[in-house]
Amino acid sequence: MKRRDDGGVAGAIPRRTFLAALVTAIAAVLAAFALPVRRAVLPASPAVLTVSKPPLRPLTRNDLYRAHDLAG
């Protein structure tokens, strides 16, 4: 087993780095719980999403009869 200069084992995560990562992770979890949560009252406001959605093509008669093989 090869020792590093700081006394740790070569290839292992240094203790200080590990502790810092652990503290960061715990802080992230605590922060997530601290975020304000807004409960949506139903029914939610209907809205058609426009972001990144391609322009919608109107429904045609061909579309109307395209779903014959769907279950339900």
Binding site: L35, P36, V37, R38, R39, A40, V41, L42, P43, A44, S45, P46, A47, V48, L49, V51, S52, K53, L56, R57, P58, L59, D63, L64, Y65, R66, A67, H68, L70, A71, G72
Partner: protein
């Protein structure tokens, strides 16, 4: 002084038991319901990915206006992710990518009238995730004298699903399996909320039918099927039509075979032995149980071939042979 909100706002969607807490700009597990500017939005509102005029028997409804047609529609997305989903191309699609067509509620109602369909069915995917659209559409259809029906897996919270039930005439609720572990590992849901939805449908007084997809090696356990039947009988009544649907390989279960007909026959027998009076086997064209027979005297009442209605021999909702009342909503058809 101008202010800027730094802390992001999570919106909790209270529609289904997942109760997703959705960060700004992200969607819930269903991919449909999105947090935009701190408000929950239904991204598929007023758009459909499928629309088709189907016989009502296909939903399936066997005791609700037999032979009627239903303009059947779906928006993209689902709050369950069943491994064997038959409509996974649209139910598991990202609404942003699915080819959708605008069909606002009023236009849907007009289209149903134009197509001569007395009913509109919210089906194919789960209407739970296009909840607001289904609600508004049911109201628009009712204004034109068109009834609405639901085909759902019933994985919803109590208050919203009851509100939707009050707007529709009937529901077919699909129980994936009488097994919570199966729901968790193969559907991404749970059994208890579905059972609650079944009871809610009964309490709200709409017409109710129950379906169950029998998947070989997954949901064909006779013990579990027996438990399902006994629960339905005890909580919903022996007259609720129960449909066992034959599985065909789809989606993540393409490796499985189609359900043997003998397995379907066994499920039918288990249900009958449990006291269920109207039990059907679906997706097996020509099966003896696809027609309705009087549970009291065995007389043939509604003859079907697949989804096709051949004849109805009801008289004022009663069996013409023994006079027994046949549960259902038959309108002027018998």
């Amino acid at each position: 002084m101008e202010r800027r909100e730094i802390a992001p706002v999570l919106v909790e969607c209270t529609l289904c038991p997942k109760q997703c807490r959705i960060p700004e700009g992200r969607s819930g597990d269903c991919r449909v319901r999105i947090n935009i500017d701190g408000r929950l939005r239904a991204s598929t509102y007023g758009t459909v990915v499928a629309a088709h005029v189907d016989p009502i028997e296909k939903k399936p409804f066997f005791h609700f206006h037999p032979g009627a047609t239903a303009l059947s529609i779906a928006a993209a997305g689902c709050n369950l992710h069943c491994d064997g989903c038959q409509n996974w191309e649209i139910s598991q699609a990202n609404p942003e990518e699915a080819e959708a067509h605008p069909l606002p509620p009023e236009e849907l109602a007009r289209m149903a009238a134009r197509e001569g369909a007395p009913l509109v069915a919210f089906t194919y995917t789960d209407p739970i995730v296009y909840y607001e659209y289904a609600c508004d559409s049911a109201v628009a259809c009712a204004a034109r004298g068109i009834g609405s029906v639901l085909v759902t897996a019933g994985y919803a919270n109590d208050a919203p699903i009851r509100a939707l039930f009050r707007l529709v005439k009937a529901a077919t609720i699909d129980v994936k399996a009488f097994d919570d572990a199966f729901y968790r590992s193969h559907c991404g849901g749970g059994l208890k909320p579905v059972l609650n939805t079944l009871v809610a449908a009964r309490e709200e007084g709409i017409w109710l039918e129950v379906s169950n997809l029998v998947v070989p090696g997954m949901t064909d356990d006779p013990v579990k099927i027996g438990e399902l039947c006994r629960w339905v009988r005890q909580n919903l009544g022996e007259d609720v039509p129960l449909h066992f649907l034959r599985f065909a390989p789809h989606y993540r279960q393409e490796n499985l075979p189609a359900t043997p007909v003998a397995t379907m026959d066994r499920a039918w027998q288990i249900a009958r032995d449990a006291g269920m009076r109207y039990v059907y086997v679906g997706n097996v064209p020509g099966h003896a149980s696809e027609s309705t027979k009087c549970a009291s005297c065995g007389a043939l009442l509604i003859e079907r071939a697949g989804y096709r209605l051949l004849s109805i021999r009801l008289k004022d909702g009663r069996c013409p042979s023994c006079g027994g009342v046949i549960p259902g909503v038959f309108g002027g058809q018998g």
